[in-house]
């Protein structure tokens, strides 16, 4: 049996060692990537515990509980980057996207290593939909925070607003892919489409 903690150790240690030899944005990227993976593990622990204690069932946990827990856990490092490290917009986007990428990578690794043999189409969907979704959620959250800071309205309501945006997006995705058929196809396409919109918006925002 493969333990998820073992997978984490195998991926995280080389990244931590590598980050000592690099500087600047590359170090920020690898550190945030590691944070993303740790956040994924902690989220899985919390969601799993709630599932077991509440007797909710894995399907309902993934539709209702996971989006809230995962996005809350991803918000915490962002608050740290924003308030304690006082990062600028570009650094914030870099760290947010790499945290999301770390989260998605670890989730995909665990899914592939602990499950049965998968088809190539499944792996492609896993990478393009789930992988991109976590990055999009983090990008949406950061976009909200940066906008709020630019407009001088960064306060508890704005943070909760940005957080709710990422939670609802994640929940919509999980809802759509929870049943096979047309809704799941819409769900799989949603992260990529949103990623394109956010990519354009980010570039406009940075140019302004």
């Amino acid at each position: 049996m493969i333990y998820v903690e073992n997978i984490l150790i195998c991926i995280v240690i080389p990244l931590i060692i590598a980050s000592f030899f690099v500087k600047g944005n590359v170090r920020s990227f690898s550190a945030s990537f590691v944070i993303g993976m740790l956040v994924c593990l902690v989220s899985a622990y919390i969601s799993g515990t709630i599932d077991v204690i509440g007797g909710i069932g894995s399907e309902q946990t993934s539709i209702y509980i996971s989006p809230m827990i995962e996005e809350l856990m991803k918000l915490l490092p962002m608050i740290f980057f924003l308030y304690i490290m006082e990062m600028n917009d570009e650094q914030l986007i870099l760290c947010a996207v790499s945290t999301g990428a770390g989260f998605a990578t670890f989730e995909n690794c665990v899914c592939l290593l602990t499950g049965d043999t998968y088809t190539f189409s499944f792996v492609l969907v896993r990478g393009l939909a789930v992988g991109v979704m976590h990055i999009v959620c983090m990008a949406a959250l950061t976009f909200g925070l940066i906008m709020a800071r630019k407009l001088k309205v960064l306060s508890i309501p704005s943070i909760v607003g940005a957080f709710s945006l990422s939670v609802t997006f994640h929940a919509i995705y999980n809802l759509l892919v929870s049943k096979p058929g047309i809704t799941s196809y819409i769900g799989f396409a949603l992260p990529v489409m949103t990623a394109v919109i956010l990519y354009i918006s980010f570039h406009k925002l940075i140019e302004e």
Partner: protein, 266 residues
């Protein structure tokens, strides 16, 4: 089937209205027209829109499942907080209205108790209820500060709120025939309150001050929300549409009159 059709129509109208309001408010933020108030308001509108999309998809895919705390509750809490923040930016000095705030807090607590009684969802109702109470208290304090109601009108509002809570509590303990009559009375009372605030908010758009306009429009929005949470489908959708349409009045109230815009440009 009819309820499903009404739901689809309501969500479609709501989405169209909210998108227009959102683009208009973003345009105002870009033009630096009350940017802070408008930013909070625009964030709130985004929250309503995304929540509506979530609920629409949820009701299509899982019409019979109600989870004790679903992700859209966070969205609802965010909307209440953002709208409160938008309203508070209008009033420069701290608003003091202790008796009114205390009564509103008690009314909100009674509302939370009723929601729990109807749905049995403790966690959800308490968390979102507390934030909703904050929005209601902010609206009442802004109404008091802008002095839009006379003493008699305040007394009438308090009496209506008290009657609503008492009747809704009574409905738990009586037979179904009288229950229907009391329910109809409550719907009429809520509709009258919403319409009164709607008309006052609309009339205030042309000649009243910014404080009065925003206080009335945000209160009409809150009143529609209270009524919506106290209603069953399909009347629920009517109040749902009402609070969506209220965002238009709220936008116009913050946006300002022609004269104000000219004064700002000078």
């Amino acid at each position: 089937m009819i309820t499903d059709s009404i739901r689809v129509i309501t969500y479609a109208i709501a989405a169209a209205v909210l998108l227009v309001v959102l683009f208009k408010s973003i345009a105002d933020v870009k033009r630096k027209r009350r940017p802070i108030t408008m930013s909070f308001f625009a964030f709130g509108v985004i929250g309503i829109l995304v929540n509506d999309v979530y609920w629409w998809i949820h009701s299509l895919m899982y019409p019979d499942i109600r989870f004790p705390f679903s992700p859209d509750e966070i969205g609802a809490c965010a909307v209440y907080m953002l709208m409160s923040a938008a309203l508070l930016t209008i009033f420069d000095k701290p608003i003091k209205a202790l008796p009114h705030t205390a009564f509103t807090a008690a009314f909100s607590a009674a509302n939370i108790a009723l929601w729990i009684g109807w749905s049995g969802e403790w966690i959800k109702d308490i968390i979102s209820g507390v934030v909703f109470a904050y929005l209601l208290c902010t609206c009442v304090r802004s109404l008091k500060e802008s002095d839009v109601f006379s003493k008699k009108q305040w007394a009438a509002a308090a009496a209506a709120a008290l009657a609503l809570v008492c009747i809704q509590t009574l409905i738990f303990f009586i037979s179904s025939e009288i229950q229907k009559l009391l329910d109809i009375f409550c719907y009429i009372l809520m509709l009258a309150a919403c319409l009164y605030l709607y008309v006052r908010a609309l009339l205030s758009l042309k000649k009243s001050s910014l404080e009065e306009r925003t206080a009335l429009s945000f209160s009409a929005f809150s009143c529609c929300l209270v009524s919506m949470y106290m209603s069953a489908e399909p009347i629920y959708f009517m109040f749902s549409l009402g609070y969506t349409l209220c965002t238009v009045i709220m936008f116009l109230a913050i946006h300002g009159t022609e004269k104000e815009r000219c004064d700002d440009l000078r």
